[in-house]
């Protein structure tokens, strides 16, 4: 398919997406769970794609994502809480010490930068480590970061273990979609660039990549830092979505969740990560909710259903998906418009046969 045609298709798809979103906003009640899924899904999609950049495309097994999201979320929150709310939010710390605010978009970029700077510093010592050693080191860093943000001594800045809140948030689904969309687009551009190829080369064979003149340390550092930049922005968006931030939420289990999404979507597939994010959020926070409630059909109580059952079913579903889609939903392929052609051909075949039997 020619580049031009691809571009036209892409623009058409984006326009269609925009129209669908607008229709949803107009037609569905504001309380619909769909919006929650769309908002959180978009945010998770960004973070998952950023994680895929490191884990899937560069082959670095990093488990620090939650830590970088935390930094992003806090940076955003700290610099955007309106001054008049400081007294209430920082009630144990005399209104905090950061006594200025910046515009939302600036704060988003700052969130990314803060995460990227941390990642850069962390990367210097740990990126030399291989596979699982790197994983545990990054996980460790995320935990250390969390402990620091909860520390009382930093209270005037971070509000210690108390929530940060009252910062500006978003109402519509457009905001997270547009921000995530732009970020993901940049990541995709990067992946398809010369640097993206270098990352993939490192993933496939470090020694050969080095023999091709690729500076391993520098490129790993780049991938790690850029991924963290976007994770930071994702964290800031998550803060906006949650309307509150507390370090306690950014546990390693959040990283595992993201890793799940990345692997289920397909390591090395951006569209897989995006798709898996929405499915994951919808399944875990919407579709399966009914399993948690005692349900009666007439006087008959449906067995097993009850509080906590949802999570049991959810874990079983994860296992099933992993066992049956070993390479993830998308493998390392990307969604392509060419696939539409395949589907059309498939249906034509089916349809054709039916007509014959008539």
């Amino acid at each position: 398919m020619s580049t031009k045609k691809k571009l036209i298709y892409t623009i058409a798809a984006l326009a269609a997406l925009f129209i669908i979103l607008t229709l949803c906003e107009q037609l569905l009640p504001a309380s619909s769970m769909l919006f929650i899924v769309l908002k959180k899904g978009a945010i998770y999609a960004l973070v998952a794609v950023s994680m895929n950049l490191v884990n899937g495309f560069t082959g670095l097994f990093s488990l620090g994502q939650a830590g970088f999201m935390l930094i992003g979320a806090y940076t955003y929150a700290i610099f955007t809480i309106p001054l008049k709310e400081h007294a209430a939010v920082y009630q144990y710390f005399d209104g905090g010490i950061i006594q200025f605010t910046v515009p939302i978009l600036v704060a988003l970029v700052m969130a990314g930068l803060a995460a990227a700077i941390f990642a850069f510093l962390i990367g210097l010592p740990v990126l030399r480590l291989k596979s699982d050693y790197l994983a545990i080191a990054t996980l460790g860093f995320a935990e250390i970061i969390r402990a620091f943000f909860q520390w009382d001594a930093f209270g005037p800045v971070t509000n210690a273990s108390n929530l940060l809140r009252k910062f500006p948030t978003f109402d519509t689904v457009y905001f997270p979609f547009i921000v995530s969309g732009i970020c993901i687009a940049v990541i995709v551009l990067l992946i398809n660039s010369s640097y993206g190829r270098a990352f993939k080369a490192i993933r496939d064979d470090e020694i050969a990549a080095e023999a091709m003149g690729i500076n391993l340390a520098k490129h790993k550092q780049m991938s790690f830092t850029i991924s963290s930049f976007f994770a930071g922005i994702g964290g800031a968006l998550l803060a906006m979505y949650q309307t509150t931030v507390q370090a306690g939420a950014f546990k390693s289990s959040m990283t595992y969740e993201l890793l799940l999404i990345v692997v289920i979507g397909g390591l090395g597939s951006v569209s897989g990560s995006v798709l898996a994010s929405f499915l994951f959020i919808a399944a875990s926070e919407w579709w399966l909710r009914f399993l948690d409630t005692d349900t009666y059909i007439g006087a008959f109580k449906v067995p097993l259903l009850g509080s906590g059952f949802r999570m049991v079913v959810f874990s079983v579903i994860i296992m099933i998906v992993v066992l049956f889609y070993r390479q993830g939903i998308m493998g390392d392929k990307e969604f392509s418009f060419g696939a539409f052609g395949d589907i059309r051909r498939f249906f034509r075949k089916r349809f054709g046969r039916k007509e014959v039997t008539k």
């Binding site: 545990i136 906590g308 296992m319 390479q327």
Partner: protein, 294 residues
């Protein structure tokens, strides 16, 4: 004397925690050594063993429930391997790890669902649950039993892996399934054996650990699991003596840190120590470099 009485408790606690981490860590490191899999479910198997004891001992006498717990735990480890990992032998490593995370979620959520999440009291096991006084410090007998038992088990395991046929097969399987099969090794039974040994150790560790701390909750496997994993990395993943040394270092350091009053960072410190070690020795204390000739 004053110094000893006020500081001995930290050391005792450190040694016993270290021993328990060690037993869990060996399970991690063995499975890792063979499947290159971080078995995230290992800590949860340990937790399930704890609950099994709680429920079994409620109806059965201790001397029946004790072996039964070990047996069922081993069976659980075996089944988990067969159901969740075996079908993924040829899948990318990451998929198996996700499967392990899935199992971990499943075990935790099931435990939550069936126990409603409230802490359960672990039964008193005669012989190890009673308190003793050493040099003025009071502690449970289990504190003294743990390190001894750990050392004995480790020596046995190291001998097994270094000098027996099955041990050699384990090391062979760890690098190459296909070629191992060509040697006539039944890789499935070798892997199962590994899981059985690992689960056995987890069961023993759970008995010691919960006797010491007396409470079981659905999440009580998570932290020891993570710590044991850190210990395994610390010592160099795949190395059994490494895992044990790592576990003791972590257990003792943690308690000394707490004793110094730096409690906020006792976990952060563990990780910081780990990172420092890794930066100095990228494959852990006893980890061997991956031999990969250019």
């Amino acid at each position: 004397m004053e110094f000893i009485t006020s500081n001995l408790p930290y050391l005792l606690a450190g040694i016993s925690v270290g021993g328990q981490y060690a037993l869990i860590a060996i399970g991690y490191t063995m499975v890792y050594g063979i499947l290159r899999l971080i078995n995230f479910a290992h800590g949860d198997i340990f937790m399930v063993a704890g609950f099994l004891m709680v429920y079994l001992s409620a109806t059965l006498p201790i001397y029946v429930s004790l072996p039964l717990v070990i047996l069922i735990t081993v069976l659980l480890g075996f089944v988990v391997e067969r159901v969740a990992y075996k079908p993924l032998r040829t899948a990318p490593r990451m998929s198996i790890m996700i499967s392990a995370i899935g199992v971990s979620y499943l075990l935790q959520n099931c435990a939550f669902y069936f126990t409603s999440g409230l802490a359960k009291q672990y039964p008193v096991i005669p012989g190890i649950s009673s308190s003793v006084a050493i040099a003025g410090a009071t502690t449970k007998l289990v504190t003294l039993v743990t390190p001894v038992l750990t050392i004995v088990l480790v020596v046995v395991l190291v001998l097994l892996i270094k000098y027996t046929k099955i041990g050699m097969a384990m090391r062979a399987v760890s690098r190459d399934f296909e070629t191992s099969q060509l040697m006539g090794i039944k890789i499935n039974s070798v892997i199962s054996t590994t899981f059985i040994i690992g689960s056995l150790l987890a069961a023993v560790a759970s008995i010691l650990y919960f006797s010491n701390y007396s409470t079981v909750t659905p999440t009580s496997g998570a932290m020891p699991g993570l710590k044991a994993f850190v210990a395994a990395v610390f010592g160099g993943i795949g190395s059994i003596p490494g895992a044990v040394v790592g576990a003791f270092i972590i257990g003792i350091c943690e308690n000394i840190i707490k004793g110094l009053g730096l409690t906020t960072f006792s976990d952060a410190f563990t990780f910081a120590l780990l990172i420092i070690i890794l930066v100095a020795k990228p494959t852990g204390l006893f980890g061997e470099k991956f031999t990969d000739k250019v």
